[in-house]
């Protein structure tokens, strides 16, 4: 019994750093061993562990099969922890498939784990449903749980899960157009010297994409490291995001011919795993490189519209979800002047220089002569050198809003708002919020609103 349990623990611990094959062997050996003994909690844990390993590779059927056994046994023995772990394994693939009630079930499991004081399981629940929620861009869920999850993990010393949540938060910040925050989150993870490989892969990708989208150097070394960590695991959730990032980076530097190769293996894997969001993402990039694939699985998300050539619907969906860069890129798939112009203005606004240059070239190729250089970053336009974000905050200060409300309006953390407010006071050389508003009025900083 003890030997079986030890194998299960070794299997669990070995997965995250990337010893996937060994972890799977241990998990199966553990089940075979414990099945020879009378039914036990340990066997329930063994089933749930194996289910979770399959979940981590997005192997839907296997995850479900083992989880079903775990749940049956867990219920019979009254082992709540086993049931909750197995629930996690069933729910995650469902979230990725966009099943509407899957997130509710996982939120329920999280609440039960918190109530029962199962600290480790709470950490697992946060990690296992916030990752997929971020991947399918469900920002209602990430807004609701990321901050409290980070707090819980800090309070309970769950360092590994905290790093995962930081990585997911960085990804959410990137995808919702808050690139500075994405960099801060990514660097917080990358600074940890003995960080496990999965959070490291995810944050290397985030940092690489911020650099690539800004046209900054030192992208390839990050992506090479991420690929070297992800590829040997053979697991889609690790390989997929790196493949997509490599495709985008290649496109941004004008080498779309590299996209097919960068995404080929990941696409095969995603199709085998029936992973609809990831298939959509990969196909959308391949389409930009002129590769049109026939796959048997229908993609999900705004990518589906993109692949079907319906850039307008895709752009609308992205805007609705809250992904400005993706929305602009979707418009950039158009062949007409008007949407391309709008994409250009938006890409210039968010300082996505290489993508803006690509759209400019496409406009010129369409025979559009005067492609205006967009407004320069607004940092120079005001005497007090307030940044665009500080001007946003200043505007809301002038409306008399409290920091907490400003935070909500601008989707920032309270701490970030406090930071902006003190920077505004410093730059304007004043002591209070009301003085700041008065001084801003005098300098004409509130006129453009």
């Amino acid at each position: 019994m003890r030997e079986g349990d030890a194998l299960r623990i070794r299997s669990d611990v070995g997965w995250c750093p990337g010893y996937v094959a060994q972890s799977r062997r241990d998990a199966r050996d553990c089940v075979s061993l414990l099945e020879t003994l009378p039914a036990s909690r340990e066997l329930g844990h063994a089933y749930a562990n194996l289910a979770n390993l399959h979940k981590c590779a997005e192997e839907r059927e296997e995850a479900k099969a083992w989880a079903t056994r775990a749940i049956e046994l867990g219920r019979k023995l009254g082992a709540q922890e086993v049931v909750l772990r197995a629930t996690e394994a069933v729910g995650v693939p469902e979230v990725l498939d966009g099943a509407p009630d899957a997130l509710d079930r996982l939120e329920g499991a999280l609440a039960s784990a918190r109530e029962a004081g199962l600290v480790d399981q709470v950490g697992r629940d946060y990690y296992s449903f916030l990752g997929p929620a971020a991947a399918v861009r469900n920002y209602t869920i990430t807004e609701r749980h990321l901050a409290s999850g980070l707090q819980y993990c800090s309070d309970h010393g769950l360092e590994l899960f905290r790093l995962y949540l930081l990585a997911f938060g960085a990804r959410v910040a990137l995808d919702t157009g808050r690139w500075d925050e994405a960099v801060d989150g990514a660097k917080a993870v990358l600074r940890v010297p003995r960080c496990s490989t999965t959070p490291r892969i995810l944050t290397l990708v985030v940092l690489a994409l911020v650099r690539a989208r800004r046209g900054d150097p030192e992208v390839q070394t990050l992506l090479d490291e991420a690929w070297a960590l992800a590829e040997p695991t053979g697991e889609l959730p690790r390989i997929g995001p790196v493949a997509v990032a490599r495709a985008e980076a290649a496109w941004l530097v004008g080498r779309p011919d590299e996209i097919a190769e960068a995404t080929g293996a990941a696409l095969d894997l995603a199709v085998r795993r029936q992973s609809r969001w990831r298939i959509g993402e990969l196909l959308a990039w391949r389409r930009r490189a002129g590769v049109h694939d026939e796959v048997a699985v229908e993609p999900r998300g705004p990518f589906a519209a993109q692949i079907a050539g319906n850039w307008q619907q895709a752009a609308e969906e992205w805007t609705q979800i809250g992904c400005p860069y993706e929305a602009a890129l979707a418009s950039a798939d158009a062949d007409e002047e008007e949407p391309l112009r709008r994409a250009l203005v938006e890409l210039q606004r968010i300082e996505a220089r290489p993508a803006a240059a690509i759209v400019s070239r496409r406009l010129r190729a369409l025979g559009v002569r005067a492609v205006a250089r967009g407004p320069r970053p607004s940092t120079r336009s005001n005497a007090a050198a307030l940044t665009a974000r500080e001007l946003d905050v200043l505007g809301l200060l002038a409306d008399g809003l409290r920091n907490a409300v400003i935070a909500e309006r601008l989707f920032l953390s309270l701490r970030t708002v406090e930071h902006h407010v003190s920077a505004i006071l410093g730059k304007l050389g004043v002591q209070s919020r009301s003085e700041a508003v008065a001084e801003a009025g005098r300098l004409g900083l509130l006129q453009d609103r």
């Binding site: 900054d216 220089r353 940092t379 050198a385």
Partner: protein
């Protein structure tokens, strides 16, 4: 610290504005000297009569340079990583513009 080249096109209409930017950059550079060191700059006379800058910095990352530019309200058009430095002759003497 790595070495970077930063291009800031047409950032300033007058020499005074440029001086002011240099002052802000120095002030912020001192504040975050662990991350960013300004080495030297060449003032570019743009065709429209404005001024731009090509700057050499040492920094811990491209993001540190972005942060510095943001804090000192300096434009950034391009950041490139310097792979090597070949010094053939010393820089010309600075002249006031």
């Amino acid at each position: 610290m790595e070495t970077y080249l930063i291009v800031r096109r047409s950032g300033w209409r007058t020499a005074d504005e440029l001086q002011e930017a240099a002052r802000r950059s120095t002030a912020d550079g001192e504040r975050m000297s662990e991350d960013v060191r300004w080495i030297r700059s060449y003032v570019v006379a743009e065709t429209d009569g404005s001024f731009g800058l090509v700057c050499i910095y040492q920094a811990s990352s491209p993001e540190a340079l972005r942060r510095h530019a943001y804090a000192a309200a300096l434009p950034v058009d391009e950041i490139a990583a310097v792979a090597d430095t070949l010094v053939v002759r010393p820089d010309p003497q600075p002249i006031a513009i």
